[in-house]
């Protein structure tokens, strides 16, 4: 019922014993005074003892209570009370959901404008004694006084990012946890169902959500460009739509600035479009919808590499590699030639497997050194392990592998790892595999991932081209090892291979290794933002134990959830009254005596 802003100060209640201790100390062995009229004293005490004892006890009680009240006031007591005029100094985190969906226009008004207005009304109820934070779609808590945060909220624009409300609530809980004052979390949001995730929170949660229903929306969920590189005669793009509109909408896709192709698509349906070819190189591909109430998801960008199929030389004796190469050749993903050799070290681009006979390992390592390759084969490791790299055969089990040991320093060229140890590396124009492509070494050759892996290995990894990575704004992306720079529309960011990169805006980011483009980052709005349907209030109440109100009730509902009256004022007044009473009584009695 009663809470304290500084509960540790309650230790000061021990000071309440000071008057009693002083009283006891004073009573200890008083000096003896020879006084003949003791009989008069005894007579006086017999008559007045009871009254004086009562007076002394009353003064002692008043002094003790005075100290207790001062200590309690210092500890900042608050009491839960409804309809109090003010509120106790509180800690409050306001989550303002300016995620991409907040850009939707509802009845001519941007939804974010409604949310901003509600958030400002909440901030207007705050006092300088409150500790305030605002969390927006970027997930970063920002602390400030009411005026600063009002300015911040006023300047908010729809973010391309998605805001997971459960995650934001957890962040708010971490922010409030060290605070000793009453805490409260206010979530000002469109309450998109896709953003509502569970959260365990010790603090009361107030959800302020607009009352108007959201518009029906259609957005592009994905743009798939199939296996890359595309041949020069073109390729296929698959566009999937998401949202909550049942009406078919026209979808257009174009390569670069060339004339696009159009088709009708529906929500939760896929549209496949065959696109014309283009000269070799990296080409942006753009999918678009006609504008609707939410513009952020009407456009999606991708990147396609157009290049001739790799010309590959393989050993027909290697059963699994040969079988895969045959399939890829039949599908025109590769052709026979001497551009890339798989299985052994040759001139030109080579994909090297470790030898089956360990006796040949020394000769192979020496040959690699002569080629200037900065990796060699080390010791043989056996036992079931799992490939843990996102690029390449992620999740595939490996039974036997050689440890790949770097012989140089600096950038290592690691493409894939097993149990955090390099398993697939590229140095110079040589790619080293830690295991042979054989079921006794790894389950990869007999898994469904083998054909895509071989396509990726022969057409892109061997050529020094890495993956095209999909991400949403704000995602933390782990860059491939060889990347030295990220570039977008003239902006460039130096990068450390293997480090993280967090794109903030949607668009295409090129990954460069020195001067070569080795991959790309396609950053698009999270498709979950396209589904504007709100979560039912009842679900939110159960999930977060929250109160749900409309923007009009924002100012009255806020702080009421932690509506705690500040008892410091009344306690100090009571203390002052007690002090004055004690002084008055003591002085009156002293005068009287």
């Amino acid at each position: 019922m009663i809470g304290f802003l500084h509960p540790w100060l309650l230790a000061g209640l021990a000071a309440a014993g000071i008057p009693i201790v002083l009283h006891l100390l004073e009573r200890r062995e008083p000096p003896t005074v020879v006084f003949p009229a003791v009989r008069y004293l005894i007579a006086a005490t017999e008559q007045h003892q009871r009254r004086l004892r009562l007076q002394n006890w009353l003064l002692l009680l008043l002094r003790t209570l005075f100290i207790v009240l001062l200590v309690l006031a210092a500890a900042g007591p608050t009491v839960r009370a409804g309809h109090v005029a003010g509120h106790a100094p509180s800690a409050m985190v306001i989550i303002v959901d300016n995620s991409a969906s907040s850009g939707a226009v509802v009845e001519g008004t941007p939804r974010l404008a409604t949310l901003r207005s509600a958030a400002i009304r909440v901030l207007a109820q705050a006092t300088p004694d409150d500790a305030l934070w605002v969390i927006t779609a970027d997930g970063t808590p920002r602390r400030g006084d009411p005026r600063t945060l009002t300015t911040l909220v006023n300047q908010l624009t729809p973010s391309p990012r998605r805001l997971d409300l459960g995650t934001a609530l957890a962040t708010a809980g971490e922010v409030l946890a060290p605070e000793n004052r009453p805490g409260e979390v206010v979530v000002v949001t469109d309450l998109q169902a896709t953003a509502v995730t569970p959260a365990e929170l010790e603090f009361p949660v107030l959800v302020i959500r607009p009352g108007q229903p959201p518009p029906r929306n259609v957005g592009i969920a994905s743009l798939s460009l199939g296996n890359q590189p595309w041949p020069q005669d073109g390729g296929r793009a698959v566009v999937t739509l998401t949202g909550d509109s049942g009406t078919p909408v026209p979808v257009s896709v174009r390569v670069g600035e060339r004339t696009g192709r159009q088709a009708l698509g529906s929500v939760n349906g896929a549209v496949t479009l065959t696109l014309p070819g283009a000269p070799p190189g990296w080409w942006p591909v753009t999918a678009e919808l006609d504008p609707d109430e939410l513009r952020a998801d009407d456009r999606r960008s991708g990147l396609v590499r157009i290049a001739p199929a790799a010309r590959v030389r393989w050993d027909p004796a290697e059963r699994y590699v040969a079988a895969a190469a045959d399939v890829l050749e039949r599908n025109r993903r590769i052709s026979r030639g001497d551009e890339v050799t798989i299985g052994r070290l040759e001139r030109g681009i080579s994909i090297v497997e470790p030898p089956a006979d360990v006796a040949q390992l020394g000769a192979l390592n020496r040959a690699l050194e002569r080629r200037g390759v900065t990796w060699t084969y080390g010791t043989l490791v056996t036992g079931s392990e799992t490939a843990d790299s996102a690029v390449g055969p992620g999740g595939i089990r490996v039974f036997k592998r050689y440890v790949l040991e770097p012989s140089g320093s600096g950038r290592t060229g690691v493409v894939a790892r097993v149990n955090r140890s390099p398993w697939l590396v590229r140095s110079s124009n040589v790619v080293l595999l830690g295991s042979r492509l054989d079921p006794s070494w790894t389950e990869l050759p007999v898994s469904a991932a083998f054909m895509p892996f071989m396509d990726l290995l022969l057409n892109r990894i061997a050529r020094g081209e890495l993956a095209v990575v999909d991400a949403a704004p704000g995602d933390q992306v782990s860059l491939p090892d060889r990347v030295t720079e990220v570039r977008r529309n003239g902006e460039q960011w130096p990068a450390e291979g293997g480090a993280g990169f967090q794109p903030t805006e949607p668009g295409l980011y090129f990954l460069l290794a020195e001067r070569d483009t080795v991959g790309a980052l396609e950053v698009n709005v999270d498709p979950r933002e396209s589904r504007l349907a709100p979560a039912p209030d009842e679900q939110v109440r159960k999930l977060w134990r929250a109160r749900v109100v409309g923007p009009d009730a924002a100012d009255s509902a806020v702080f009421a959830s932690a509506a705690r009256g500040d008892l410091r004022g009344p306690l100090l007044w009571a203390g002052l009254l007690l002090g004055l009473t004690e002084m008055g009584l003591a002085s009156a009695w002293r005068r009287g005596s």
């Binding site: 004073e26 009573r27 008083p30 000096p31 003896t32 005074v33 020879v34 006084f35 003949p36 009229a37 003791v38 009989r39 008069y40 004293l41 005894i42 007579a43 006086a44 005490t45 008559q47 007045h48 004086l52 007076q55 002394n56 009695w589 002293r590 009287g592 005596s593």
Partner: protein
């Protein structure tokens, strides 16, 4: 008061009395007995009863004895010399109650002697410690002073036996001056005083109090101990000053009321009061 502290009883008493007795006359009352005063030559007409035949036998000269008429007043001063009388609230400034009483009695007896009243003294604590029978000779006062000067504080207080001894000393009606701090059982003392009064004596009670006994003072908290009974009480003078003062006032009122009821004169006397003032108060209420 400074003189009182420094000088002897005689010097102080005479100093006090010189200023007090100016103009006082001998007692106008005639008694039944006479006391020898001096000899003078016989003159014709003198009553032959007063011829001193012994001198005539030795010197063959006629002398007559001349007697001074004695008043009918015989006075006995009853002095309390119990241990409580030795107390003073501030030895630097004031006399103890006993020292003050000694000087006051010296002055009082000198006044009585100068009036040719026979004056005696009884000192008591828990028993009678000294007794000087009443005499009217001027030299008798010296003896009183010696006895007074030898008095020292004794032990407890038992006034009744001393007062009963007064009866033996005053066979005719006389004056009893009771000088005490009255720190004993009031009803018992009153009983004896009342008895004296019934025997026709005039009784004057001088209640000697140190100012420190009237106003309670001391450290923040103290254990107050009775020097006679060792009874003690622990209290804070600041808290108890008022009730104590009220109690003292009620005790004084009780003594005054009880004395008045029995025709006894009662005078509270603080030891910071000049002796002359006290004598004037006593004389004003009891002209001798």
């Amino acid at each position: 008061m400074e003189v009182a502290r420094l000088g002897g009883l005689e010097l102080v008493a005479e100093g006090v009395v010189e200023g007090f007795l100016a103009g006082l006359h001998r007692s106008p009352r005639r008694g039944f007995s006479v006391e020898f005063a001096e000899h003078r030559m016989y003159q014709p007409g003198d009553d032959l009863r007063y011829v001193d035949w012994k001198i005539l036998g030795r010197n063959d000269r006629l002398y007559v004895k001349q007697y001074e008429e004695e008043t009918n007043l015989r006075a006995v001063v009853v002095a309390d010399v119990s241990r409580s009388m030795a107390w003073t609230g501030d030895a630097e400034v004031r006399l103890s109650k006993l020292a003050y009483a000694q000087r006051l009695i010296a002055a009082l007896t000198l006044v009585l002697q100068r009036q040719r009243d026979a004056t005696g003294l009884i000192a008591f604590d828990d028993a009678v410690r000294a007794m000087v029978p009443p005499r009217a000779r001027i030299s008798h006062w010296r003896q009183l002073l010696v006895t007074l000067g030898d008095l020292e504080a004794g032990h407890g207080t038992a006034a009744e036996p001393a007062l009963r001894r007064v009866i033996d000393q005053l066979r005719r009606r006389g004056l009893v001056v009771f000088v005490s701090d009255l720190l004993f059982d009031r009803p018992l003392a009153l009983k004896a005083l009342r008895f004296l009064r019934h025997r026709g004596h005039q009784v004057i009670v001088l209640h000697v109090m140190d100012p420190g006994e009237v106003t309670l003072q001391g450290p923040a908290e103290a254990r107050f101990e009775d020097p006679e009974t060792r009874a003690a009480v622990v209290l804070r003078p600041k808290d108890w000053a008022r009730p104590y003062r009220e109690t003292v006032e009620s005790v004084i009122s009780a003594w005054r009321l009880a004395c008045r009821r029995h025709g006894i004169a009662y005078h509270p006397v603080r030891t910071d009061t000049p002796f002359g003032t006290v004598l004037r108060q006593v004389a004003a209420s009891h002209p001798t």
